[in-house]
């Protein structure tokens, strides 16, 4: 298994782990196997006190349902949370509701659930995506479910906002001054041009040296394919079989 080529999702897991600090309280929501693995990898390497709350983990039961989890977030319990979207734009807004016009959508999706609240109430949010295309990374989302920062209207409950976006090609960092995303680094095996070509907005790469980095060293890969994967299989069995067999 050690010889199997590194899957892009494994590099994402490595990148997410590197973004997490020891002692933080990180939480993952539904359908979030990659962030869950990232939290577990961080916990098994540099952040033994990370204390991840992985929703759906049979060994970390909550009393009841998502509303309990949302209440905990409202109280200020979550340092880092993970969200995604069918569209993400340069300002870090995410869309989970409709493609096309809201009244006459081309595609109707389940909706934002707690994303708007969690994007505001967690101390920082990392976005993750399972693909990296121009359809996903658009100049402006068709519908805003949740925002990375407050605009003209200040929301009293805003506690944090966007920190990074992790994709199968690399990592974007949110520039708080410019209030926009910029390319941070590209994963080994990819190129800056490849990321730019597959992103529908400007990544602020002009005149900047963008490093190509492997966020997963040999030891991290061993830990990921060992204890992290063993644990992840108890939470996300189907996804694990699809990615790791």
């Amino acid at each position: 298994m050690e010889d199997k080529p590194v899957h892009p999702y494994e590099r994402m897991i490595g990148a997410i782990a590197l973004l997490l600090n020891d002692g933080e309280f990180a939480a993952t929501g539904t359908l979030s196997p990659i962030p869950a693995a990232g939290c577990l990898l961080a916990q098994h390497t540099h952040a033994p006190h990370l204390a991840p709350m992985i929703y759906g983990d049979p060994a970390n039961r909550i009393s009841e349902g998502l509303h309990e989890f949302f209440g905990f977030a409202q109280r200020g319990g979550i340092d880092v949370f993970f969200l995604s979207g069918i569209q993400i734009d340069q300002r870090g807004s995410i869309n989970l509701s409709v493609i096309g016009d809201y009244g006459k959508p081309k595609l109707r999706l389940p909706g934002g659930a707690g994303s708007a609240m969690l994007y505001s109430l967690s101390r920082r949010t990392i976005l993750f995506t399972m693909t990296h295309t121009k359809k996903l990374f658009v100049p402006k989302v068709d519908f805003v479910n949740a925002t990375a920062f407050d605009g003209d209207v200040r929301t009293p409950w805003r506690r944090g906002g966007l920190s990074h976006v992790v994709t199968p090609l690399g990592v974007m960092k949110f520039d708080r001054e410019k209030k926009r995303l910029a390319l941070d680094y590209v994963f080994t095996g990819g190129t800056v041009a490849q990321v730019v070509d597959n992103t529908g907005f400007d990544l602020d790469v002009a005149g900047r040296e963008i490093p190509v980095v492997d966020p997963l060293d040999g030891e991290s890969l061993r830990v990921l394919r060992g204890p992290v994967l063993d644990k992840l299989r108890t939470i996300y069995p189907l996804v694990c079989r699809m990615v790791w067999g």
């Binding site: 759906g56 049979p58 039961r61 009841e64 349902g65 189907l238």
Partner: protein, 153 residues
């Protein structure tokens, strides 16, 4: 609030801040999936899901359960919570009733069946064939489980 005229703002009497409020959702009928149930309507459901919340919100709730047990055996397990008969209008005993989705702890989601459903849903004729094979064809739930090849424990 542009698209939802039922959302209003209220002033929080404690902080003085304006907040958007959402009216409660009251479903006419909720169908929830439980693990154990008794003939009086007491059931246990998975704690990680929002089934108890649904049952307490809906006007009528139908609980589909994996097993019918005696009332003193409707005890929450490791992953379960109890829902009182007060909130339950009917209990339907249907082992495998969550198929093709998962009933964690009992059986996983049927990925093969779900993929077939997704493929069929793209095309009207294929979807009609899907419905005939799996929904209208089987005479009862047992025949449905046979049709989809559900492995009974």
């Amino acid at each position: 609030m542009t698209i939802r005229d039922d959302l209003k703002t209220v002033k929080d009497p404690y902080s003085g801040e304006d907040y958007v409020v959402v009216p409660p959702i009251v479903p006419d009928v909720a169908v929830i999936h439980g693990l154990k149930g008794d003939r009086f309507g007491g059931v246990t459901v998975l704690g990680a899901r929002n089934d108890r919340l649904l049952a307490t919100a809906a006007r009528k709730t139908i609980a589909v359960v994996e097993a019918l047990v005696e009332p003193d055996e409707v005890l929450p397990g490791l992953q379960e919570v109890y829902v009182a008969p007060l909130h339950i209008d009917a209990v339907v005993v249907a082992p495998g009733g969550a198929h093709p989705t998962a009933c964690p702890g009992r059986y996983e989601a049927d990925a093969t069946h779900l993929s077939a459903y997704v493929a069929a849903a793209k095309d009207a004729a294929a979807f009609r064939a899907y419905l005939d094979t799996y929904i209208f064809g089987p005479a009862d739930h047992d025949s449905y489980l046979d049709a989809v090849g559900f492995a009974r424990p």
